[in-house]
C-alpha cells in the first residue's frame, strides 16, 4: 500500500484547498477558465514574474502538498507531463525563427520538460531524486510507478504529480487534425505526497498502478490487473474513465460493471494528456468523504492504444 498523505490540484474546477470538492463539482462548460490561487502566497514574487502557467501551477500545488503533509522535504520529486512547457517552447521557437542574432535565453531555459521538477527542487532546496516522465497520456502513471518504486526501495515520502498547459495553438492543431471533437482543451496540475506508512493526513491508499503502452487486449489487461490485486470486477465501486470509444462501455459491460458506476473524468477535468492525475485526486477525495466507496479503478484509455490502470482504496483496507 502507498498512502496518499496530501493532494493538490489547480484546474478548471474549484479543487484547490477544497476538500470534499468531488461531491460538488459539475461537468465543465465551454466557457470554463483555469481557477488559480493567489500565487504570491506560494512563490517568490521575483520568480513568479518569469514563470509560465505550468510552472506556477506545479510549484504552487507542490508547496500546498508539503504544507498539508506537514513535511519540509520529500525524499524525491517525480513529475509527469505529456507535452511539457508549451508556452516557453512556443515562445523560444518563434524567436528562433523570426529573430536574427542573439536571443533572450529565459524561454529556452524554461522550455525543457524537467523545468517543473527542477523549479520545485530549487524553490524548497531539495537535493533528492528528481525525475520527469513524458509518455503522452501515460506520463502520470509512469511518474506514479517511479514514486511507488522509490517507496519500495525505502524512501518515506515522495512528491509526485503531473501538469500540462493549454496554449491557443493547440486549438488550431486539434481543428486541423479533426481530433478531440467535443472536448474542451484545458490546463491542469495535480500533485500528491505519497508515503510508505499511514500518517495522520492519509486520505486514501494506492494499491497498484500499471501502464500498458501499445496495448493488445484491454479486457485481458484489466482482468489480470484486478486478479493480481485479488479483486473481481464486481468489487469495483467506481470507475473513473477517460476515452471516447464505445468499446470502453462494451468492456465494462462484459466485465459486468454497471454503467451507473462509470464516471467520465474528462468531463470534469477537460482534456490534457496528464488528466489522470486529476482523476487520482477525485478518487482520493471521494474515498475520504464517502465511506460507502471502497475500490476505485482509474481507467485511462484517453488514447485507445495506451492503457493506464490505477487502483485506489480506503486507508483502512
Amino acid at each position: 500500500m502507498f498512502y496518499i498523505s496530501a493532494s493538490s490540484t489547480i484546474s478548471h474546477q474549484p479543487a484547490f484547498q477544497n476538500a470534499g470538492f468531488s461531491g460538488v463539482i459539475e461537468p465543465l462548460l465551454a466557457d470554463s477558465v483555469l481557477i488559480t490561487p493567489d500565487y504570491k502566497g506560494y512563490i517568490d514574487a521575483g520568480l513568479l514574474r518569469r514563470m509560465s502557467k505550468i510552472l506556477r501551477m506545479s510549484v504552487a500545488c507542490s508547496k500546498d502538498c508539503l504544507n498539508q503533509a506537514g513535511i519540509d522535504q520529500p525524499d524525491a520529486i517525480v513529475v509527469g507531463t505529456g507535452l511539457g512547457c508549451l508556452q516557453d517552447t512556443e515562445k523560444f521557437l518563434t524567436n528562433s525563427i523570426t529573430i536574427e542574432g542573439l536571443l533572450p535565453p529565459t524561454s529556452f531555459i524554461q522550455s525543457t520538460h524537467n523545468t517543473m521538477a527542477g523549479q520545485i527542487s530549487l524553490s524548497i532546496g531539495n537535493h533528492g531524486y528528481n525525475m520527469t516522465h513524458t509518455q503522452n497520456t501515460l506520463s502520470f502513471e509512469n511518474a506514479l510507478q517511479d514514486a511507488m518504486l522509490l517507496l519500495m526501495e525505502g524512501q518515506q515520502h515522495v512528491l509526485v504529480g503531473a501538469a500540462d498547459e493549454y496554449i491557443e495553438f493547440l486549438t488550431q492543431v486539434s481543428e486541423n487534425l479533426a481530433a478531440f471533437d467535443g472536448q474542451y482543451l484545458t490546463s491542469g496540475a495535480s500533485f500528491f505526497v505519497i508515503s510508505n506508512q499511514k500518517t495522520d493526513t492519509s486520505a486514501a491508499a494506492i494499491k497498484d498502478c500499471r501502464s500498458v503502452g501499445l496495448v493488445d487486449d484491454t479486457e485481458a489487461e484489466i482482468i489480470s490487473f484486478l486478479a493480481e490485486n485479488e479483486l473481481n470486477a464486481a468489487d469495483i465501486d467506481l470507475i473513473l474513465y477517460a476515452g471516447y470509444s464505445k468499446s470502453n462501455f462494451e468492456i465494462f459491460l462484459k466485465l459486468g460493471i454497471d454503467k451507473s458506476k462509470c464516471v467520465d473524468y474528462l468531463a470534469y477535468s477537460g482534456l490534457y494528456p496528464s488528466a489522470s492525475a486529476f482523476a487520482l485526486h477525485i478518487a482520493a477525495d471521494r474515498i475520504q468523504h464517502d465511506k460507502s466507496v471502497g475500490n476505485i479503478l482509474i481507467y485511462n484509455a484517453l488514447v485507445p492504444h495506451h492503457l493506464g490502470l490505477t487502483l485506489v482504496q480506503p486507508v483502512e483496507a
Partner: protein, 394 residues
C-alpha cells in the same frame, strides 16, 4: 547488486555502429565538423551523424515521412542493441528511452511554414511529443507494455539506464531496452547560443581556455536482462550496471553550483550503491561539456569524492559533441567498451589544466591497464545530476 548488460547499440558523429564508434575512439578521431544539415545563419561546429533522413530510412527499411530524425536515430541504435532477441510471452519486456527535443527537428520546419502561412501539414506534429519518439521505436521492435520516456535535459540517458535497472531489480520487468536519442535542431543550437555557451571553436573540455560546447546528435541503447531472460536468450554478459544515483543540485535552473553539491552527491551515492571502494574505479567518463561552469563544478566534485587520488578521467564530448539526452546512453556504451577492451579514451583538445583545480585528464589512448569499473557522469539543466557505475563483475 546490479543488472546484466547483454546488448549495446550506438549511432553518433563518430560512427553508425558499435564497431565504427570503437574504431574512431581507438584512432582518437573526432566526428565534430562544420554544421551542414541545418541553416542557423552562421558557420558552426557540430557532431552530425553522417546519414541524412532518407539514408537512415532506407537502411532501416522505413519511410522517412511521418517519423522524426530522433526516432530514426533511436531506432537504428535500438535495433543494434536488441540484436536477434526474440519475443516470448513469458518474458516481460519494456523500453525506456529519453529525449530532450522529441520530434522538434520536424516541428520547427512545420512551425516556420505555419508562421509564414504556407499551409503546413499538421500531421507532422503527431511526431512532436517526446513520448511518440519512443512509441515509434517500441512499435518497430514489437515491444508493448512498459513504454516510458524520461526528459531531464542532459542527464536523461543516464536516468533511463537507472530506471531500467531499478525495474529489473524490483522484478517489474525481465528485460528492458534503455537509452536515449536526440537529433540536432535549430531550436537547441539557438538555445545554447542564447546562453552564450556554444563554442565557435572546437570544444575543449577541462582545458583552462574552454569556452563552451559543440552540440552533437545521436542515440544509444543498452539491453538489460535478468537471470530468467538470459536463460532463455542465451545472450552473453558484456558488463553490469552496478551503481546509480540521481541528486538535485538545487542551486540554479541552468548553472551548476561552484561547490559541485549535486554532482558530489550523485557520484558518492552511485559508488556507494555499487559497493566498491572509490579506489577501485579504473576510469571516469566525465560529463565534461567544455563549458566554464560545468567543468569547474565537476572537477570540484571529483576532488570532493576522490581527494588527491583522482582516477584516470576524460570527457568524450570532443569526439561526439554534446548529444544532450543521448549523451548518458552514448557514454554508457563507451564505458562498456572501455571495460570490454581495456581502453581509456583521450580527452581531445586539452592543453592546460583549469587553474582553480589543476586536474589533468587522460590525453592519449591508454591500453595497458585493465579496466574493471567505470564511473560515468551526466549532469543536466534544472540541477539534475546522475552518475552510473559499470563493472566487469558483481
Amino acid at each position: 547488486m546490479g543488472v546484466r548488460i547483454t546488448g549495446i547499440g550506438i549511432v553518433s558523429a563518430i560512427g553508425l555502429s558499435v564497431e565504427e564508434n570503437l574504431l574512431a575512439l581507438k584512432e582518437s578521431r573526432s566526428g565534430i565538423g562544420p554544421l551542414t544539415v541545418l541553416d542557423v545563419g552562421r558557420d558552426l561546429l557540430a557532431g552530425q551523424v553522417k546519414l541524412c533522413d532518407e539514408e537512415l530510412g532506407r537502411e532501416l527499411n522505413i519511410g522517412p515521412a511521418g517519423i522524426s530524425r530522433t526516432s530514426l536515430l533511436g531506432l537504428k541504435a535500438a535495433r543494434e542493441a536488441w540484436g536477434s532477441s526474440m519475443h516470448s510471452k513469458s518474458i516481460r519486456t519494456g523500453i525506456i528511452s529519453s529525449t530532450s527535443v522529441g520530434g522538434m527537428d520536424r516541428s520547427e520546419v512545420f512551425y516556420k511554414e505555419y508562421l509564414s502561412q504556407k499551409h503546413p501539414d499538421y500531421a507532422v506534429l503527431k511526431t512532436h511529443d517526446s513520448g511518440s519518439t519512443t512509441e515509434r521505436i517500441a512499435a518497430e521492435l514489437g515491444i508493448s507494455g512498459y513504454i516510458d520516456t524520461l526528459s531531464t535535459a542532459c542527464s536523461s540517458g543516464a536516468n533511463a539506464i537507472m530506471l531500467g535497472t531499478r525495474l529489473l531489480l524490483q522484478n517489474k520487468l525481465d528485460r528492458v531496452l534503455v537509452g536515449g536519442s536526440d537529433a540536432l535542431t535549430k531550436f537547441t543550437i539557438d538555445g545554447f547560443r542564447s546562453l552564450m555557451i556554444y563554442d565557435d571553436e572546437w570544444c575543449r573540455p577541462f582545458d583552462e581556455s574552454r569556452s563552451g560546447l559543440n552540440l552533437g546528435e545521436g542515440a544509444a541503447f543498452l539491453l538489460l536482462e535478468n537471470e530468467k531472460s538470459v536463460q532463455l536468450s542465451g545472450n552473453a554478459t558484456l558488463g553490469y550496471v552496478s551503481g546509480w544515483a540521481n541528486a538535485a543540485d538545487a542551486y540554479h535552473q541552468t548553472a551548476s553550483s561552484p561547490e559541485g553539491t549535486g554532482a558530489t552527491m550523485a557520484i558518492r551515492n552511485a559508488i556507494a550503491k555499487s559497493e566498491i571502494s572509490p579506489d577501485r574505479i579504473s576510469y571516469v567518463n566525465a560529463h565534461g561539456t567544455g563549458t566554464k561552469n560545468n567543468d569547474l563544478s565537476e572537477s570540484v566534485a571529483l576532488k570532493n569524492v576522490f581527494g588527491d587520488k583522482i582516477p584516470a578521467f576524460s570527457s568524450t564530448k570532443a569526439f561526439t559533441g554534446h548529444t544532450l539526452a543521448a549523451a548518458g546512453a552514448i557514454e554508457a556504451v563507451f564505458s562498456v567498451l572501455s571495460i570490454q577492451h581495456n581502453l581509456i579514451y583521450p580527452n581531445l583538445n586539452y592543453k592546460n589544466a583549469i587553474a582553480e583545480t589543476g586536474l589533468e585528464p587522460v590525453t592519449s589512448l591508454q591500453t595497458e591497464n585493465s579496466v574493471h569499473a567505470v564511473l560515468s557522469n551526466s549532469f543536466g539543466f534544472g540541477g539534475n545530476n546522475s552518475s552510473l557505475v559499470f563493472t566487469d563483475q558483481i
